[in-house]
Symmetry: C3
Subunit: 207 residues, 3 copies
């Protein structure tokens, strides 16, 4: 197993865990953990594959992804109270998953012959739509509406990757460079609590 | 029309009714009934067909399913106040639909060549995702987060079905056996208000 | 560029703006504008293409739609405070988009060989599901549950279009006739605040 595959597995596992932790907080039974964990883990890549018509979707072709999500969710059922004490670890693992999925998603779209805009959007969706589905299903505020630099990091990463490939930078360099870049942007945002300027709503009239 | 087709039609009709009843409670007009009823009735099978790349989805191929959903929704508009007095009837019809859809979904996935894990997930999704979409659209708490034995019954049913087929049990026996089993699990859960142990969240730190 | 293409572009642009305005109200950063605007603009047509198996989806084939959504969203970031003063303009542009998308969606489904029921549902979904996804992602009450004549206008429009084509009315007449009809229904509903009778929920028993 090469490093990229390992990071891919790690990323999906971390995302599944983030879904299962929501189930823990809502005190569901173990099946709730499995369903919410699995949907969060595979959601982003599933939507990407449906939109690009890469069929059937990746986890139907390679059930190992499904197994990772299920095992992680079950594991989380037993260790969720430990994990919740180490939230910082999770935030960092999530940043790693975010970086890997951005590159993997953009790469898959480009290999499928997508245009630059489509590939960028696919990179962003692969990395963030699992979390968005998790938030919708659990009734949490969607991460789209959060002001952290999160979706933004995937946007910058995906744009950079497309640019590098456009300028004939070798794929292996582009891959590791952009994973590092995306992770670094997210890391700086976490450490310094950075955010882009949010729009300031001026209430001209009552809606 | 054989018995399985009849139960399939009954199941989709009951699910459509459960969606239309949410529309009744929110006091929408009749188009709201039709849209919410239809999406609830066909939602689970639609997602299954998209993920397995069985295209086009089943109700595009066989519009009778769409007609059943629309007619049920319109009917519900006129009789919703009667139905609401007989909630118990609906709960039992829903249990029947749940059991049938679990088997139908698992079966379709296996016939499409899916692995065991995928087939189990497809059985669960076919049976529950219509209701999940209904809850998301209407802003109700998702049934994923409920503590009833509901998703769990579909999980046990789908696993059992895959096992039986694996051990060369004839399809007709597996079908009726697992429909009975899934219905029985759900029935016991309804009567005795059984539930699996929920995770107990211990608030180590304020999130 | 013919008039229909122009209206199609106008419609998608208006829908994208309605998504971006939600981002403005929630005070997200510019990436939140782009994501919510784009998903709202292309959501309805995307679901239509997935369900009809017209793959890949339209904006993967023709990225100009994606560019329109992104540019509109970015523009909205800078002019949202002006727009909010002119809400009436937006309501009318939205009605125009609704009318165009109803006809485009129904037309595409019929051309793909769909039955009448499926084509009607596709017309309705093309016109309304972008807005429904927007509402789900932003936690607003879904437009399915609203009592305005909105989904209803698309229903009448799509039914009329299917009927006209059935009776061999030339496509160009059907197209412009139904766009006008749908727009007129919506316009009358806006001006006179018309609505269909909503279901009256009688609380027989506590749920």
């Amino acid at each position: 197993m090469d490093l990229l595959t390992f990071l891919d597995f790690l990323g999906i596992s971390v995302f599944a865990m983030s879904g299962a932790l929501i189930a823990a907080r809502r005190e569901t039974d173990i099946i709730g953990f499995i369903l919410l964990g699995t949907v969060t883990g595979i959601g982003g890549g599933t939507i990407r594959d449906l939109l690009l018509d890469l069929s059937p979707v990746f986890w139907v072709r390679e059930p190992v992804y499904l197994q990772i999500c299920m095992l992680t969710s079950i594991l989380t059922y037993f260790i969720a109270h430990y994990i919740s004490t180490y939230r910082r670890v999770l935030v960092w693992a999530d940043a790693m998953g975010l970086a890997v999925f951005t590159v993997v998603g953009t790469q898959i779209a480009l290999n499928a012959g997508s245009s630059a805009e489509v590939a960028i959007l696919m990179g962003m969706m692969t990395a963030t739509f699992g979390g968005i589905i998790r938030d919708v299903l659990s009734g949490n505020e969607s991460l789209i509406l959060k002001k952290e630099i999160y979706v933004t990091a995937t946007f910058i990463g995906a744009c950079t990757y497309v640019l590098l490939i456009e300028f004939y930078v070798p794929e292996v360099i582009a891959t590791w460079g952009v994973i590092s870049l995306t992770f670094a942007i997210r890391a700086v945002a976490i450490i310094y609590d950075l955010r882009l300027p949010g729009y300031k709503w001026i209430n001209n009239e009552e809606k």
